[in-house]
Structure formats: structure tokens, C-alpha cells
Subunit: 419 residues, 4 copies
């Protein structure tokens, strides 16, 4: 029986499968756009990751389940050779979902057999695989949401659940934060309890100007005011590339908002229903977050500002573990001196480009391609969303997407200079 790291990994993988339980084979096979992957591909890719990097360490003379899977399920590791083109993942109707389930079981069986005495590097690989699996849990949900969002039938991922009524969140307060010379980033760690990605390191000093953060994320109601005020028709509110994106894509509201007379409907994992004013706005691009901030007389925080605010806050909130699968309104009253909802609900765009910290060293070997090579043309998001597993997050965690991406659970927190 697996214990320790292997057991933890198997537990995470069991959750992956529970997340897919409502999906049909058809749902699992289709690629909704180039940037998304089929569920089945996610299920196979995370398995291939373990099979390729960990099983040969656990099992002398390990023979891959199918030697052709490396070509099909390698995502982007150039060091491992050629692979199936990303935009064509949806053409892989074979292996079938059932065969992929078998593949998962066979790899899990090896993990289940593994003893407790792992050498340090093997343990590290398994911990990385666990975190990798968790990242794909979030991607499975965002990608399936995108697929269903394009189906005129607006299928639901699951039936709607009753939630306690939330009263309206309090107006935004501006909360001054720590400034001056500060430490941010993380010390290296690859264990089950101290794991961090290479892109969070090294711990280093930054000089931060006096500033305040908004007490909570921007709500749908506030964002609608921006729309009604002509936000999407006012070029001077936008970055030049953002205005081009508005025009070429015909953006007039966040992704998944559909105009219905004077109001808007919203596609959620539980189907389509009216936009709820009190919920944090979600599925906006960086360009929209930035334009909203300019309209509101504020700006987005830097990733350092965000991290300093979060470093003393417990990693709690509306995360995947809550099983709500949608952002929730902020509390109607809070005496806290700390911003609410830093963790969970929506990823928060920062105005920091995703670049290496000074002194950044990529993971060794093929893992060096995990993060470092994507450090261009992307912006940092912080804090996790209602699709992010709690154990996956921390204050130093850096997520990143191109500024035009909208299908992730991306929202807005405002900041202001104090000087």
C-alpha cells in the first residue's frame, strides 16, 4: 500500500477522476480551441508525466504502457523529442477515454506498489507530479467550461446547487500596505510540505512604493457600470494592443456574459443564469482589467504588492475544496485590516510581466522547460481561484497568461498609489 508521497499523489489523482465523472466520452475528446486541451488529453498527459519521469525511478526495467504515448502526450518538452501538434490534440479520438482510464490505472498501480523508501530525487519528481496534476485539475475545469460555453445548448457540467444567500458586499475600502525595502519570493523547496516552483525563487529584495489595495475584488455590478458608461467604446481607456483586441474580437463584456435585453446572462459550470451583481467579475483579459482600473481612477497592483499583502494571510477561501466552482460575493461586513478574498474566487491580474526573478535558476534537466521558457508576453496572476486546490497555493505562487486570455478564472483587484 502506498504511503507518503505516493499516497498523496494517488489521492490527488483520484480527485482528478472525480472532477471528470459527469463528462461523457464525447465531452472528454473534443478540443474547444488551440489554447485548451481535451479532458482526455489532460488525463493522459498527467499520467505520461508520471510514467516518464517517475516510474523508471520506482521500478527497475519499467516498460511504458504504450511507447507511442510519448509522442501523443508530451506537451512541450523539446528535450524529450518531437510530439503531436498542440492544436491537433482534439483529433486523438483513440486511445479512447476507456483506454486512457486503463492507462491511468496501470500507472497508479505502480505508484500504489511503491515502497516508502524513496530516494530524494524520486520524491522530488513525485511531488512535482502532484503539483502538476493539480494544475491540470484547474485546466480541466476551465477547458470544459469553455467547451460548454460554445455549445448553443449551454450544457451544465453539473446540476445547480443551492447556496446560502449572500448579502451584498461592503463598498471597497482602500487599505494601505507595507512599503519600502521588502523580501519577496520563496526559498527553494521540493518536498511534499515545502514545495515551490522554480519561478518563485530566489527569495529576494524589492523596493516598494507606498500604496493601498482594494479591500475586495471588483464585482460584476461594478464592472457593468464600466460597460454602461461606454468602457468598451472609449479607446483612451485602453492599452493600444487592448483596443485592437476589443475591435478585432468584438468584445463588449467579459467572456460568458450574453446580453439579454437590458441585462446579462452568465454561463457557469451549472448552466446559464443571470449575472449576479455581488459576485467578483471573472473571465476578463488583462486588457479589460487594465481598462477598468483606468476608468476607476486606479491601477492594478504589482505582483510584489500583492504578495506582501498575502504573506501573512492564511490560504483559505473559496477554493476547489469548497466545491462551489464559482466566485462568491465578498463578506458584507468585515473589520479585518486585510484585504478579503486574496486567495480563491478569482485569479487576480497584476501589472507585472511574467519574467525571471534576478538569480532565477530553472529546474534541472527537462523540468527546466516547465516554467522558464514561457517568460515572455505573459502577465502574472496571483491568488488562485475557486478551481484551485487549496494545497496547491501559497502567497509566492505565480500564475501567468497572455494579456488577451479570458477563459481562465481571471478577475480584478485594484490598487492605488499613496504619495
Amino acid at each position: 500500500m502506498a504511503t507518503g508521497t505516493c499516497a498523496a499523489l494517488l489521492e490527488v489523482r483520484a480527485l482528478t477522476e472525480r472532477l471528470c465523472a459527469t463528462l461523457t466520452p464525447e465531452d472528454s475528446a473534443v478540443q474547444a480551441m488551440d489554447d485548451a486541451s481535451p479532458t482526455k488529453w489532460h488525463l493522459a498527459h498527467t499520467t505520461w508525466f508520471i510514467e516518464t519521469f517517475a516510474l523508471p525511478r520506482l521500478c527497475r526495467d519499467y516498460q511504458p504502457v504504450d511507447p507511442r504515448f510519448g509522442y501523443l502526450f508530451n506537451s512541450y518538452y523539446e528535450a524529450l523529442g518531437p510530439r503531436h501538434e498542440r492544436p491537433k490534440r482534439g483529433l486523438l479520438t483513440r486511445p479512447s477515454l476507456r483506454e486512457v482510464a486503463d492507462y491511468r490505472q496501470r500507472v497508479d498501480a505502480v505508484l500504489a506498489e511503491a515502497g516508502r523508501d524513496l530516494d530524494e530525487e524520486t520524491a522530488r519528481v513525485l511531488v512535482l507530479a502532484l503539483n502538476h496534476e493539480q494544475q491540470h485539475q484547474e485546466l480541466i475545469l476551465t477547458d470544459i467550461k469553455y467547451l460548454f460555453g460554445q455549445n448553443p445548448l449551454r450544457p451544465a457540467y453539473r446540476e445547480a446547487r443551492a447556496l446560502p444567500a449572500a448579502s451584498s458586499p461592503a463598498p471597497v475600502r482602500w487599505m494601505p500596505q507595507d512599503a519600502g525595502l521588502q523580501w519577496i519570493g520563496a526559498k527553494e523547496g521540493r518536498g511534499l510540505d515545502d514545495f515551490v516552483f522554480d519561478n518563485e525563487c530566489p527569495r529576494h529584495r524589492v523596493f516598494v512604493e507606498p500604496h493601498a489595495l482594494a479591500s475586495r475584488p471588483v464585482t460584476c455590478g461594478e464592472y457593468r457600470d464600466f460597460i454602461v458608461d461606454g468602457g468598451y467604446e472609449t479607446p483612451t481607456l485602453w492599452l493600444s494592443d487592448g483596443w485592437s483586441a476589443v475591435q478585432s474580437n468584438g468584445w463588449h463584456a467579459p467572456l460568458y456574459w450574453r446580453r439579454a435585453g437590458d441585462s446579462f446572462l452568465l454561463t457557469t459550470l451549472e448552466g446559464e443564469r443571470p449575472v449576479a451583481d455581488d459576485e467578483p467579475v471573472c473571465h476578463v483579459s488583462y486588457y479589460e482589467a487594465d481598462a477598468f482600473a483606468r476608468w476607476a481612477g486606479a491601477h492594478l497592483p504589482t505582483e510584489e504588492e500583492w504578495e506582501l499583502a498575502a504573506r501573512e494571510v492564511p490560504v483559505e477561501g473559496n477554493l476547489l475544496d469548497s466545491d462551489v466552482l464559482h466566485p462568491r460575493p465578498a463578506p458584507s461586513f468585515s473589520s479585518s485590516a486585510r484585504p478579503a478574498q486574496l486567495f480563491g474566487d478569482v485569479w487576480e491580474w497584476t501589472r507585472s510581466a511574467y519574467l525571471p526573478y534576478s538569480g532565477f535558476r530553472p529546474f534541472e534537466g527537462a523540468f527546466g522547460e516547465y516554467n522558464g521558457k514561457f517568460m515572455m508576453n505573459q502577465m502574472v496572476l496571483r491568488g488562485g481561484s475557486c478551481f484551485t486546490p487549496q494545497s496547491h497555493l501559497r502567497a509566492t505562487y505565480r500564475n501567468f497568461f497572455p494579456p488577451g486570455a479570458r477563459w481562465q478564472m481571471s478577475g480584478i483587484r485594484l490598487a492605488r498609489d499613496l504619495s
Copy 2:
């Protein structure tokens, strides 16, 4: 119990389902390219066609199974209102394959209940639906072949079957054909036994120059000679648009040919295996057919020339009913004065543009969009293929595809002037 036209339609529809029996739900859901459709979509669309055009005639107060299906499964009938974008058919993971099977059964149940006494227009609609269903049978096979052909695993649609060995076909003979003023085309007919499409009408006269047709289609071995002789590197053999297609698509052989050392492998519905020299070459574009003909010192026949040769020939051969699902070599010996393999094996490109015959009148109403609006930028193919149902074909039948299309069962028959 259904009789007559309804029974015939139900029988055809039962074959459609048998053709899909080996496909998984995943196979049925994916769209392999913009020009192809998912199997599931074909299954639903043909059903929607009957439900929309025929059931209200058979059944007073007929209520559609799902009123939203019109939006999803209308192919291109502008007269029936807006519809789901063609390149996004693969996003429709719902309704599921099972739900589509239910849809088919519910519509078939109405057909099965229908009495024998159909008014003439209802009978016409059902006959059209039957022919429409047959066209989609061929498309289901070509589209699934294309999907599997892009999967690096090269899945087989079915297990390979043993076939009697064929001896090598005789060399091509040039067979002089009827010339002068000739009648071609068909008289209108909408019954089960005399049905023709509007694009085959009216019967009319053409003047045909003296010419000869090749005794059989071009074989893979002959086509390989063209490749080896530098056919794909010699611009003066090609139409200007054809040469552009060669260069921008990197064509160097027919679709589904894959170079393996000095020889070629071929993807078939029974998996990948070596190219067989004696089989008719298939999956060539018009551009390739035309370039081959020029290289061979010949040209392609006009559609009139083809039709005149075929009008006295029985509609027999390697058609869908043979269940071979691949072109077969021509007979090694034939004393016939008629060209072999005019029907079946491969569709034969003609050098005729797909245009209306003088006096062409489209079908009435929405059916007018069936054929007429596609009469531009396409070339006529004649004779059916090993994917075409025998009862669907006739000498006057006009198929049509753009000159760059390669995923259909398209081959080459040569012609020569005699003057």
C-alpha cells in the same frame, strides 16, 4: 409497418447505423477539419432533414423532438434561418451520441407508423431524404477516414479482410467513343425508381468532338512513375493554382501516402499498409489529376464524354454494397469494348466545371438550395466510388468538389482527342 417509400428510407437508415457500428463516442464527436463533419453530426443532420421536411407532412401537429436541433443540425439552408457555424460542428459534444441515437429512433418510429398512402409531394420529400441519407453515408466514411488518417496511431475503422488476390491489370487501351451531337442529362423524376437531382436536368443536346477514353483508371503504380519522374517538382505540368497548392501545402504524393524509405505506405479504413501498385490511385486533387494527365500526354474527359461512355453500362462494380471499402485493381484481361470501372472504385475527375445545364431549374422551395448555390469554383466528378451505394448512382449523376479537395475517393481516368 412501413411499406414502400418509408420502408425503403428506413432500410437505408439502418445501413447508416451499421456503418457507424465500430465507432466510439469519441470518434463520432470530433470534426477532423472544416470541410468534414463529425459522424454524430451526420447522424443527426440526416434525421433533422426528415423531421423538418417530411414529418409535418406525415403527422398532423408533429412536434419536433427538440426545437433547438434546427439550429444545430441545419447544414446550409438559409431559407430555414440561422444555424450553428459549420467549422464548429465538432464543439457539439451534447447532444451525446446516445441522445442522437434516440433522436434517430424517434424519427424512424414516425416513419415506421406512416401508411402507404402518401401524397405525391410527401413521397418526393421522402425519396429526396433517402438519397440525402445515402450521400451522407459516403461522407461518414470519407470523414472518418480523414480523422483516423491524422491520428499518429493510424487506427483502423475495421479489421483487415482477406480478399482474393488480383492479377495485374492490363495496360491501358484507348477506346474511341461516340461523338457528334448527343443527348445527355436526365429527365426530371422524383419517384423511388426514377429519382434524379435537379442538377442532372434537363436532358439536352451537346456537341462532342471525336475522342477516346482510357480503358481503366490510372493505377498507383502509374502515379508513382509520375512522382519518381519529378511530377511534383515540375511547375510547367501544373495549372497555376495547382502549383500554388503544391507549394503551400507541401504536396508530394496523394493524400494518405506516407513515404517509408523508397516506398510508400497507404492509410486505408483497415489501417496502414504498403501502396498496392495495381489499385486505382485515389485521394488526388483535381490539380494532381490534371498534372498527371499533362505528364501522360493526355487530358481529363469532359463530363459529357464520361456520361456518353457510361450510359449503356450497368451500374455495377466495387460499390458500397461490395463492402470492400477500397478501390480494387482492374481486370487483368477484358475483351470488352467499354471502359472498365466506370462505376465504383473511385470518383473520376472530369475537366468540366460544375455549372448549371442550360435550362436548369432548382428544386422548389428550400430544396432549391440543395445543389444550385454550389455551382461555382467546383469541378464535376462522375461514377461513384467504393463508398457509394449502388442504388444511389446512375450515368447522369454529377458529384462536385473544389479542385483542391483530396479527402474524397477521387481518382483519374484519362482521355485523348481523336482528330
Copy 3:
């Protein structure tokens, strides 16, 4: 002093230069779109054509003016080797317009020196060069019109000239034409007086159904009725590819029509002014001509029908020699039994695809690429326009453009079946 063929060619070339007299060096250098060429390129290309094909025959040991010009000014002759990419002709700011003028003079000087005793093949080449030069005269005008039409300043190619007022054309009459078995096409001829292109040959028989032609082309006023009646918003009037073109290009009127309140302005070579209802409509694509015909309850003629009507009509009318440079209204009264304006004013779209006649043989050698390789994806136009030199035209002349082209002087004549 040049005589005979050389003299005729020099005279044509002198006209080319007069046509360019009002253009600045900037005007001459710019390429308005991929399908158009800079004036300077036309001037150089026609010169290169003579230099390459004729001068080595006229002049032993002829040395090219600049050996690099072959790469720059070869249009599409694969047999002559690689060449500058077509869409990049506008990048060739050097050689300058002045240098190109020098190039022309140096080549013309050789022509001027040539004696009268040309061998037959040399004479043929010069006659072809003369016809080639004339084709580029028309292209120079259409391409510069397109360039000016995209300049918000709407520059005029020349000052507006006063023309005698025209009274309104008579309503269309339907004129029955010859039918039955008929000869069309041309006998081969390569002399100054009997030159025809290879694509007009051979003379051959066709069977023509009873039909009538409209007594004159469609006018702007008639075309506006189509617009006002919702022609551009009614998909069932259009070919499928035509409707796609309407939507993707945002067509709502012919090229060069600009809405101004309730009426339309028109860009001409003499600047922008209101659309004149009585003039033939011009700058419509095949798709628009076809949709208009369907709306009008008619169709376009075949090229054979057009040619039979024109074969007894003198080649006269509003051609380049009239120096009007814009279509003129049809006569207000005519007792003629023949359709008016068959020659000149506007090229008339036919519903015939541009394909080889049975028995077509391309010119020998590199000239074989002149016409034959473009016989795909294009439609035939007949009759010349107000930009076409009179001596260049004849009843058998076949012009051709893709069905979406609008920058040529293309208009509409309707036809009707009589049966």
C-alpha cells in the same frame, strides 16, 4: 525607320506612355493590392517581354540592358526561372521611373532599327508583344484607378472632361438569338491582322438552346433598385461562395460606390462624383452579376451565346480609342435588332467557366504559359470595356477573372431562356 510590325508595336508602346503621362513617380511605384501591379512594373514588364522574346531574334548577340531585370520583371513564366514575388512588386522603388523610361527607350531603339524583313516567328513574337502591351494598357488604368480609389483624397487621374449630355436609355428589350448547332471560336492566326490568342481556338461547334439577350447592359439605376430591394441582405439570391464574399468583405454596393446620405458617390478616373443612373453599372463581381440576374428573373449568358450575338457586329463603341474612360449610357432609341454596347463600355460576365475548348493547344514554348495555366477558378468576360484598345478586340476574345474580382471594368448583360 521601323515599318510594319515593329512600327505598329512602337505606336502601341507610345500610347502606353501617353496613358501614364499624368502619373507622378510615386503613383507609378506603389502596388495597390496583391492582384494589381505598379504602373512602373507594367512599363518595365512589357519591355522585358520584348527584350526577352524578340530582341535576340532581331539583333544578333543582343545583350540585355540589365541582366537582373529578368528576375524583377518576369511575371509568371516558370520556364524562364525564378522571379520576384508578385505581392512584392511595390517594393521595387529602384529602378526608378526614369530608369524604366530609359529601359523602354533602349528597347524601342532596337525595334526602331529593325528592318522590314522579319522571319515569320519573329513577326509572330512581335505581334504577341503588341497584344500583350495592349492588355497591360488596360491593366495600368484599372490598377491606377484602384490605387486612387483607396486614397482618402480621391485624386483624379485627369481633369474631368465635358461630354455631350446623354438622354436616358430605352428600357431593356429581349432579343432572340441564333440557336442550334453553331460554330464558335477562332482559327489560329499569329499575324498583325489575324492574330488570336491560343485560348480562342480551335473553331468548333456547340449546341445552343433558344435564348434572348438583353438589348443593353444593366444600368446603375437598375442596380440601385436591387440594392434598395435588399439584394445584399438576401442570401437566397446568391451563390454560396458569393454570399460568403458579401459577408466577409462587407459588400453593399459595387466597388467605388460610396454611400452619401440617400444616394451614392462614384470614384472615376476623373475623381469622385454622383452615380449616374443611366450609365452601365461597372465594377461588380461575378457573384453580384449573378445575384442581380437571379433577382431580375434572368441569368447571365454563356460565352457561346454572347459570341454568337457579337460575331456579326462591328468592333465599335466606347473603347479606349474614344478616350472617355468611363462607361456611357446606351442610346435612348434604337431600332437595331442587335444588342447595343456588346463591344466597349464594360466587360460582360458570362456564366461560362474559363476552360480550354476541346482541342485547345497552348502556344509553343514559354508562351504556352500565357493563357492555359490560368484555366481554373475563373469566369469568362466578353466584349471589352472603355479601357480596351479597339484593335485588341474581336468577337471571339476571351477575358477571364476570378468570380470575386471587382477592380476590372466588369458589368452585366442579362439573358433569358426561350423554351
Copy 4:
């Protein structure tokens, strides 16, 4: 007679015209790619800038030379209304080069008449216009170089000039730089002597890690070693987006390098000649600079690191004022403790994204669009090039281009961590 600011501006504008003296009207009219502009457009746009922003302040009731020029020559100021599409600037053959020269003269005449007593805001506008004119001087040269570089004749902008032979530069030394908490950026200033752009402000503190800079930029010889070592074929050396750019653009060397047997030719403003090993490499994208650095075991400096090294260095070197118009080799010997060639020769890519400094405030009014809205998807370059006017530069100056841009004078300086 103009004095002070107006006189300075007129002097700068006179240089603009001298820079264009060798260009033909054709050269001036053509747009070599979407990102470049025709010379004539640069000449008119800088004039429009003065006419729009300054002349109404200098001249009561100023009437624009042509009210339509605002539409044609507004670059990107949304606040000033709609404008001609950027990729179509090359279609504006009218106004002609001569008319644009007249336009410049008429605007200059107003400047020449202006008195010395300008109000402060007017003076600021003129100073901005002067700096703006200087930026377009560099763009005129880079854009014309790009145009000539695509002409197979490789025309020269001017005749080659003899330069004193340079001996080979010394090997790179690594020079430790200031670290810790440091001030960078500029205080606001809008006068002739203290002008800075808004994007250089405010002056602020950053924390800098210990590091060393290379004593000189990377040379062509060093870059060729990277090529020979397979740099362009080794994906793991590249950012993911960089590797995509290599593959989709077919990059195998810097822009303007053309392989000739075993060596490379280089296009310069003085025509094509062999690559000189000792010169700084130029016309590389950020992706290439970054890949080279990784191959060399180093990285690119941050913009702060660059600025700290440059702040005590005089703004001298191979700048536009040297009139060399090409990068020169570094000195063969230097005892300086400071890196050579920080200013001039080539712009140096930094690994800093072009983002607002904390506390950034855009210029007021329409000038707010000058810099701020481009702060996305671009990287910072520092130090000017041999095309940059000396009086335009300073240590705090931030240039910016997308990471894939190669037509600017962009080179590489390496940095290393010291810790």
C-alpha cells in the same frame, strides 16, 4: 528670425531633410511592411504634429494647410479622431513628395516667424515636437534600410565611405557594477535642456543584485560562432515564443545577413558587403539576443542595471552625428573601468518588459497617448544607435519594441550575476 526653441526645432527639421536627400520620390512613397512607414509619411506626420499641437498656439486663427491632412497623417492619437489605417500608408501616393515638401516649408515658415516669447506650454510642445522629429529621423533610416533590404538589386542609400581601419576589439571583460538600493529614472522636465519623456519618470528606487556587465557588445564574429554551433537549431536555447518565431519565419541569422557559401553578406545603408567580424552584431530580435545569452552562459541586463552603468558616462560615441550609419568595432584596448559603447552603435536589448514605473503619470491631454498606451508586449532597449541623434539621448532614455522586431538597430550586451 527664429530663436531659441523654434530655431532648435528648425535646425533639427533641416537635418531630417538632409537625411532624405538621396531618396527618389518612389523610395519615399512605398511602405516596406506594416510596421514601417514611407519616408514621405514620416516627413508629413512630423509636420502635422507641429501644425496640430503647436501652430495654433503660435498663431492666432491658424488655418491648417489642408484640413484633410489630419486624417492622413495622425499616427495613433485616438483623442484626435479617426485616421488612415496604418498598413495603408503606402497607398498615399498623393500628396506627392513635392507637396509634402511644400507642407513642411509652410509650417517651418510659421515657426521661423515665431518670436522668442513663448508661453511655457507652447515651449514644451515645441520641445516635444523636436524630440518627436528626432525619433522619426531614426525611423526614416531604419525603414528605408528595410525597404532597400528587400529589393533584389540591393540599392544603396548612399555611396560607401572610407573609414579608418579598426583593429580587433579586446575580448570581453566582466565589469562589476553598482548594486543595492539605487535611484533610477528621471525627474520631470519639459525644457530644451532638461526634457525627458513621461515614461522615464518618476525618479525612484530599485533594489539591484550584484552583477557584472560585459565590457562591450557582442560582435558579429561571436554571433557567428553561435550560428555555427547550431544555435538556430537548438530549441532548448530559446524561449517558447522565440522558438516559434524561428520556425515560422525561417530565421537562421540576423536580419540582413545573407549566406554566400561559407560566409555571410550584410546589407548596410551603403549596399551589400561581407559581414565584418569585429563589428557589433545588429538587427537581432529579443529572442535571438536572449538565446545567444543563454548559449553564452550569461543573460541580458535589466534596464536598471544598464542605466546604473550608464549614468556617469558621457553621451558620446558612434551616433547619428558621426554620420557613419553603421556600428563600429569596439576599441582594441581600453583601460576604462566602464563598459564601452553604452551609447551609440546599437540599441541594447534589456530583459525588462516595457512597463510603467511606479508612480508613472502620462503626459497631459492627447500627448498622454505618446508612450503609455504601448506599455504591453514590448521589451526595453537602451543606449541609442548609430542612427540616434546625440542630443536626443540620455542614460534614462527608454526605447521599446516587441520581442520579435528585427528591423531596428538592435544588438546585444551581456550581463552576469555575481552571487
